[in-house]
């Protein structure tokens, strides 16, 4: 099933510049229904309070990291089926393995291109 252009996407990153970049790319790719959170904890709160269809998250964040948020999402009955795309500078193999074990839907290494984002979204929602 291709990605729904109206799906609600949550962008989680502690850096305002990265949130804007990801939201801008998503908008250019046709996904304008986006919201944002500054860390995993805020992200989880928003996810529990709203009907989101997709999460794009950073790894390194204060308060609650992206990987901790991912584990919490997968452990939550209501949220566990939401696809989570990690966009991170953590480019070690061990990080990728950790993310996969935690149930990540796909993984983008910074710096990245819009094409990469499009390709990953396409793979998640194919």
């Amino acid at each position: 099933m291709p990605a729904d252009p109206n799906m609600k996407i949550l962008v989680v990153d502690d850096m305002v510049t990265m949130r804007k970049i990801v939201k801008n790319i998503l908008k250019q790719l046709g996904f304008a229904n986006t919201d944002e959170a500054e860390n995993g904890e805020e992200g989880l709160q928003k996810l529990r309070g709203g009907s989101y269809n997709f999460v794009v998250s950073d790894w390194n964040m204060p308060v609650m990291t992206g990987i901790e948020m991912l584990r919490a999402i997968r452990a939550d009955e209501k949220l566990k089926s939401i696809p989570v795309l990690m966009v991170t500078a953590e480019a070690q193999q061990s990080n990728l393995i950790e993310a996969v074990q935690a149930g990540v839907s796909n993984y983008i290494v910074k710096p990245f291109t819009a094409e990469t984002m499009q390709e990953k979204i396409g793979k998640i929602f194919k």
């Binding site: 305002v16 510049t17 970049i21 801008n24 790319i25 250019q28 910074k110 710096p111 990245f112 819009a114």
Partner: protein, 195 residues
């Protein structure tokens, strides 16, 4: 027995000299240690400023890029309407030329998105700066521990360094308050007759 006592006495003498030399060596670097431990917070502060400056610059480029993207979207919409109208009245040549303009706009849109994506450098810079600040904090803590353990005391002006690093840090610190804003520069230029 007497020989053993003499050897022990010699060993203790060697050890005492070693300790004395070590203490002397540490005391000679005291000013540098004191200077470094007092300047590290300043260096960390400059790194944090660097992070803020790149963030501000990046956000401004983003703001302008988004403005251009919005304008492009409006132009593309307008052009589509004009192309459709021209096709309806059978002006194929004009419609073709406008289609060409529209494709150029689409290419520019791609470039604008590449500019936005390229700005992610700021995030990578910020992450490295954060790590450097953490390292400086750690080094400062260790230096302070050293100062406490060896009882090194600040000795008036001796703690003030005179090396290149000290001078550069001093310049950076001064530039925080003395760096001129464009408006001030323009006012000054105006006073010198520049219009």
């Amino acid at each position: 027995m007497e020989t053993q006592g003499r050897r022990l006495y010699e060993e203790l003498g060697t050890l005492a000299r070693f300790v004395d030399n070590a203490m002397h060596a540490i005391s000679t670097v005291t000013p540098q240690i004191m200077s470094s431990s007092t300047q590290l917070p300043t260096a960390a502060s400059h790194l944090s400023d660097l992070k803020k400056m790149t963030e501000d610059g990046t956000l401004e480029v983003m703001r302008l890029t988004e403005l251009l993207q919005d304008h492009h979207a409006s132009m593309a919409k307008e052009l589509s309407g004009v192309v459709d109208a021209l096709k309806a009245i059978d002006c194929a040549t004009l419609a073709g030329r406008l289609e060409h303009v529209r494709s150029i706009l689409a290419q520019d849109d791609k470039h604008l998105m590449e500019i936005m994506t390229a700005l992610s450098f700021q995030d990578l810079v910020a992450q490295r700066v954060k790590k450097l600040v953490a390292i400086l904090d750690e080094v400062q803590t260790k230096l302070v521990e050293l100062v406490v353990v060896f009882g090194l005391q600040r000795n008036g002006h001796e703690a003030v360094g005179t090396g290149i690093a000290d001078q550069m840090l001093k310049q950076l610190e001064e530039s925080k308050t003395t760096a001129m804003k464009q408006q001030v520069a323009d006012d000054l230029l105006a006073q010198f007759g520049f219009k």
